[in-house]
């Protein structure tokens, strides 16, 4: 039975108070997977995984010598006190992490079966009453007292009627471990069945199986097959019937799985996004929000049945159709469709973010309902799967693959009975293969598996897609599903953010992280466009959005994915060098907007609102050069990747520093200037000494100098390094010590002092449409975070204490006319301790796509805004930043939240941070050094957890 369940993808955990030899000899199971068998034994002290070779220890709670002594002392003390009451009891076993006391050491009750539990209880209680003890609860209380007196901090006292055990763990520890492990496997508690035979009270004490009903188990379904003479706790189903009934439940589950029934979501509202009905106005925005992406392809969440307002599409990462400014991401053949016209009123879609599954219930006109689930596998990128059940007529399709909208260069065929479609671009292309299988069910069941193969240079042979499909089919839907869920579980384990106290925000944040992770790949190079794989907007072109807004999240949670973003820049270094040379500069000049070739594809003009206007960002927005270097530095700071530091990272630093060194102009006084640029604030073009550009260039030069000091490449002479440092020191930054404010660019303070906060009907607002470009150019209205961005990216490069004056000056002047802006301001307000302002902007950022604030979500999700949302939480509210080989934390928690938890990966360590109002807990595996607040001294944080309490403005460690 257990092997069968495992083969069908079930994970099973057996919880027992006894040892592995005992349990394994009874089960004799050797499952091969994909489902796993866990043995949680010795009453919460051990966990084994059982595979084809038998049990393997996964975890063991090991008592310290002091704990061992205390347990023995506690047991002896308890025996003594019971003797004092006239009750003879005996220590019968010293089990792992507990001492077992026999309350009725009589031959007649040596080894009573479970079926005699009632009689046993009667006998024990009689014995206790004879000694003036009210019952088992009294004995348990006495044992607990003894345990505390003996020095145990958190004793666990349990009873099976015949015995009382004093220990360090109980079954609740097993339960905690199980739910945490299942979460790593992509399974929520709502997908769990808990079975037992002793949930209800026994002798006034909680039944042993009730310990499995931990807080996180609340959505699970618990049932008892036991006698349960005192009933079961609320929420537990009293099934009865003993072992036979239990077996019956398992067999039923197995039958359902064999029939290919649809998996279900656990429906947790903090992990699911549901869209009911069909709104033709908002449908395409909904489809973008429901995108399933695996780093290779992105599939919109359109309904399976046809509706003219839907916009189904599949986009391919890194493969572009067309050239130059008009190039765009290639559309691939579609796989998520059925025949029939949608009945709009009967549509429901739910995206399960925890497991990356899109559930849909719909009905074609006049037909009974169709239920389905689909996913784009993140464990096997490029592989997709759909399972649907319903009336035969509703599930019929002519082909499992449909040609994309632009079908000029598409061809199709069949190989090995599988359908394939190939779409060829000017460079590269995509090939897809898919196959449908039908089987009887309630109605019938359709199972479709598809495989995509893409290449940015050469159109793949359809045979490769067919082979990938065959391999996926060999694995089978259950295996694919299991692996996909587990892969999402692993991602969330490294990336989840929990906000205790704001469920709406919680869901919005998880959606953001889900889509960020979905759009990124962890191998090769990744050209991550502004909308990722969630839509065709911005044509899949790459901007600083990637390096500054998305990369930090990936660096801190999936470093390999961040590396693939950097690989895109590295592979196009030669294009950047060429561009620098073309403009008479040295080093590398990365493009403002790029696509396949890595060259600049910013258009020079655009016809907007009736006018032909020049687009000068490609020509003048040069801070991108430092932004790329900053991305590389961010990666290094978080990962400590020595190979990258000595190799490609060093190259990036050197080439970008060379660019700046050739770019600056020295005046007669020896001050360095950078003339004629556009900063992040694109309302003001062709400005001199933009603070952001200058300070980032300065940082770039210094960082490069530091890097070469450590790992000097052979072709770099000391003179060049010294020149960088000298230029860095000479660069003007517009800082006025008297006011503490950085002038955004030379002459900004002389512009018309318009305060957009008081002028605009609302903010955010695209102020160029409100005031016109001419008026804006002459006014102190800022599009997005510019000078303030320095405080976010390079806080060590700006004057200490300058954050607040610059926030107070620039925030009212910021139109937030870019979706990249509010999230960064949220982070900065949080850093400044201005939490209501921070929270307002955080919430706004979280709703940009959910509420379609731009009316362009249909063209794809705003990934940079989503990245800024994470940065606001991590860098802003949690105040997490690398500090050398340690991690600095400086949290600020809004009143409205009870806690903020986040997980990051720092230098190979998984670090969990929990922020409460007056407490901070950090656990790290392996251990890392943590600096808290302004402290200069680090403290080690281990897997056991470092706990600190706030005392005024400082933090003090709490001893365990």
């Amino acid at each position: 039975m257990l092997e069968s369940l495992s083969r069908k993808g079930f994970d099973i955990a057996v919880v027992s108070g006894t040892s592995v030899d005992n349990v394994d000899s009874q089960l004799l199971a050797r499952p091969e997977g994909p489902g796993r068998l866990y043995l949680c034994l010795n009453r919460g002290s051990e966990v084994f995984a059982v595979g084809p070779e038998g049990p393997v220890l996964l975890a063991r709670r090991t008592a310290t010598a002091a704990e061992d002594e205390a347990m023995t002392a506690a047991a002896r003390l308890a025996i003594e006190r019971l003797e004092g009451r006239g009750l003879h009891a005996a220590i019968v076993a010293e089990r792992l992490n507990r001492r077992k006391l026999d309350l009725i050491p009589e031959p007649e009750w040596a080894d009573p079966p479970k079926s005699l539990i009632g009689e046993l209880l009667g006998a024990v209680e009689l014995r206790l009453q004879d000694c003036g003890l009210a019952g088992l609860a009294d004995v348990a209380a006495l044992a607990r007292e003894c345990a505390l007196e003996a020095g145990l901090v958190d004793p666990r006292v349990t009873s099976d009627v015949k015995h009382v055990e004093i220990g360090l763990t109980d079954k609740s520890d097993s339960a905690h471990w199980i739910f945490e492990e299942l979460a790593l496997r992509g399974l929520g508690p709502g997908n769990v069945l808990i079975a037992g035979d002793e949930f209800g009270l026994v002798g006034g004490l909680a039944g042993s199986d009730s310990y499995l009903l931990v807080e996180e188990a609340a959505p699970a379904t618990a049932f008892s097959v036991g006698v349960e003479p005192n009933g079961v706790p609320e929420g537990v189903v009293a099934l009865g019937g003993g072992p036979a009934a239990f077996r019956g439940v398992l067999e039923d589950q197995l039958r359902r799985r064999k029939r290919g029934e649809l998996p279900r979501s656990d429906g947790d509202p903090e992990w699911t996004l549901a869209i009911d009905g069909f709104d033709p106005i908002l449908e395409r925005a909904h489809e973008a929000v429901l995108t399933l992406a695996d780093g290779r392809i992105g599939t919109s969440g359109s309904p399976l049945e046809h509706d003219r307002a839907a916009s189904p599409r599949v986009l391919v990462s890194g493969v572009y159709a067309g050239e130059g400014a008009t190039s765009h991401l290639l559309e691939a053949p579609r796989w998520s469709h059925l025949a029939g016209e949608l009945d709009r009123d009967r549509l429901r879609r739910m995206l399960d973010l925890r497991s990356g599954l899109l559930f849909e219930e719909s009905a074609a006109r006049g037909e009974a309902g169709v239920r389905s689930v689909r996913f784009s596998s993140v464990s096997r990128p490029g592989t997709v799967a759909l399972r649907a059940e319903g009336p035969r007529a509703s599930l019929q399709t002519t082909r499992p693959l449909l040609l994309p909208g632009n079908r000029e260069r598409a061809r199709s065929g069949r190989l090995r009975t599988r359908d394939w479609v190939q779409v060829v671009a000017a460079h590269g292309g995509v090939a897809a293969a898919a196959h449908d299988r039908f089987r009887p069910g309630s109605g019938i069941r359709l199972e479709r598996i598809g495989a995509y193969v893409a290449d940015p240079e050469t159109a793949p042979d359809p045979m490769w897609a067919v082979e990938a499909l065959c391999a996926a089919e060999d694995a089978g839907f259950e295996q694919l599903l299991c692996d996909h869920r587990a892969a999402w579980g692993a991602r969330w384990a490294d990336a989840d953010v929990r906000i205790d106290g704001d469920p709406e925000l919680q869901r919005a944040v998880r959606l953001a992280l889900f889509q960020l992770m979905g759009s990124a790949r962890a191998d090769g190079e990744m050209a991550l466009g502004a909308r990722g794989l969630t839509g065709p907007g911005y044509r899949g072109h790459v901007f600083w959005d990637t390096d500054v807004f998305v990369l930090p999240f990936l660096v801190a949670t999936r470093p390999q994915a961040a590396r693939s973003l950097l690989e895109y820049r590295i592979r196009h270094l030669s294009a950047a060098r060429h561009e620098a040379r073309q403009s008479g500069r040295a080093g590398a000049r990365f493009p403002w907007e790029s696509a396949r070739s890595g060259r600049d594809v910013t258009p020079s003009h655009a016809h907007l609102h009736g006018e032909n206007i020049p687009i000068r960002t490609g020509e003048l927005e040069e801070h991108i050069v430092a932004d790329v270097a900053w991305g590389a530095a961010c990666y290094l700071d978080w990962t400590g990747d020595d190979e990258f530091r000595r190799g490609q990272g060093l190259t990036i630093f050197v080439e970008t520093a060379r660019y700046w060194a050739s770019r600056v102009r020295l005046d007669e006084a020896g001050r360095a200037h950078i003339d004629g640029v556009i900063g992040p604030d694109e309302y003001h073009e062709d400005v001199d000494d933009n603070a952001f550009t200058n300070v980032m260039a300065r940082w770039n030069l210094r960082r490069a100098a530091e890097a070469v000091a450590k790992d000097a490449p052979l072709e770099l002479d000391q003179g060049e390094r010294e020149r960088w440092l000298a230029l860095a020191d000479a660069l003007v930054d517009g800082y006025d010590p008297a006011t503490g404010i950085y002038e955004q660019f030379a002459g900004f303070s002389e512009l018309e002092p318009l305060v957009i906060e008081e002028l605009a009907p609302r903010r955010p607002i695209a102020a160029e449409l409100l005031l016109g470009p001419g008026r804006l150019r002459a006014a102190q209205v800022v599009k997005q975070t510019d000078a303030l961005m320095l405080h976010h990216l390079v806080p060590d490069e700006v004057a200490p204490g300058s954050l607040v004056p610059n926030l107070r000056f620039y925030e009212p002047r910021t139109a937030h006319g870019s979706s990249l802006s509010p999230g960064i301001h949220a982070a900065l307000f949080a850093r400044a301790g201005m939490l209501p302002e921070a929270l307002e902007l955080l919430r706004l950022t979280s709703r940009i796509d959910l509420d379609d604030l731009t009316q362009t979500t249909a063209a794809g999700l705003h990934l940079a805004a989503m990245g800024s949302l994470w940065q606001a939480l991590a860098f802003g509210f949690a105040g997490v930043r690398p500090a050398g080989d340690g991690l600095r934390l400086d949290p600020r928690l809004p009143r409205a939240w009870r806690a903020l938890e986040l997980t990051v990966r720092f230098r190979g360590s998984r670090v969990k941070v929990r922020v409460e109002h007056d407490a901070l807990t950090v656990s790290a595996d392996p251990p890392i050094r943590v600096l808290v607040g302004a402290s200069k001294r680090g403290t080690p944080a281990t897997s056991a957890g470092l706990r600190l309490e706030r005392h005024g403005r400082s933090w003090r460690k709490v001893d365990p």
Partner: protein, 271 residues
């Protein structure tokens, strides 16, 4: 057979009214008939009708009632009439026009006295604000243009209240926004060209009509000229040098074939 009804007076404005009526009738493949209520003679009216080759029917006074009754005839698909008798006449339009516009539940084409169709009906400008009323006009105009070589220019005007929140990279943002706007509000987005402006909607409509050399401006409206309503209709009627097609919400007649998909007409309207 259905017809377009040209309601002409005895002024020089009759000739352009008849020309526009003929152009609409040709597109719709229906007849055209002229009617006239004799107030101050009828020789100009008769001469204009004869020159246009359109039959003229005389109606008895009172003027508005007679014309309204004629317009309500079930075989009339649209009514064409002059905005005013002379260029310097009443603004935004004469009282007859306004009273008919307010009461007649059919498409009404209001022709300025110096309107001239350059080369027939080739281009129609349809302002679209995303609301139901403007969507009606678009739907009707699409029907009109569906089988003809008529270009539709859809115009959206942002005002201070509707300016987008964000404009990350202008060239991409406007493209994305425009594409989605058409998908939301236009049944056949691939068949129209979108122009977006910022400013006063009335001014922008006239400006873009001029820039694009549009032959007709099509406006949907709720037949309410009270204060606070129909500002664009007033502004355009007042100053448009080209005919203005007014399509009331809930118009009895559609330019499309019988049985046109009601959903197609209205699904893209926002309530």
């Amino acid at each position: 057979m259905n017809k377009v009804l040209a309601e002409i007076d005895n002024s020089a404005a009759a000739r352009p009214v008849l020309a526009v009526a003929r152009a609409f009738a040709d597109i719709l493949s229906v007849d055209v008939e002229a009617v006239h209520v004799r107030e101050d003679g009828e020789r100009n009216a008769r001469a204009a009708a004869e020159a246009a080759g359109i039959g003229l029917r005389s109606l008895a006074r009172p003027v508005v009632e007679a014309l309204a009754e004629a317009g309500r005839s079930p075989d009339v698909v649209a009514v064409v009439l002059g905005a005013r008798r002379v260029r310097s006449g009443r603004r935004p339009a004469g009282h007859v026009v306004l009273e008919l516009a307010l009461s007649l539940p059919k498409p009404l084409v209001v022709v300025p006295p110096d309107a001239r169709l350059r080369d027939g009906l080739r281009r129609i400008l349809v302002p679209l604000n995303g609301g139901r009323t403007t969507a009606v006009a678009l739907a009707e105009t699409l029907m009109l243009a569906s089988s003809q070589e008529i270009e539709l220019v859809v115009l959206h005007v942002h005002d201070a209240g509707t300016i987008p929140l964000f404009s990350d990279q202008r060239q991409h943002e406007v493209e994305s926004w425009g594409r989605e706007f058409l998908r939301r509000h236009c049944p056949y987005p691939e068949r129209v060209r979108l122009e977006v402006r910022i400013g006063s909607p009335g001014e922008s409509v006239l400006q873009v009509a001029d820039e694009t050399s549009s032959d007709v401006i099509a406006l949907g409206w709720s037949q309410d000229l009270s204060a606070g309503h129909a500002a664009v209709v007033r502004a355009v009627l007042e100053r448009s040098p080209v005919p203005v097609l007014l399509v009331p919400v809930g118009a009895e007649h559609s330019f499309g074939p019988a049985g046109v998909d009601e959903e197609l007409r209205y699904e893209h309207a926002v309530a």
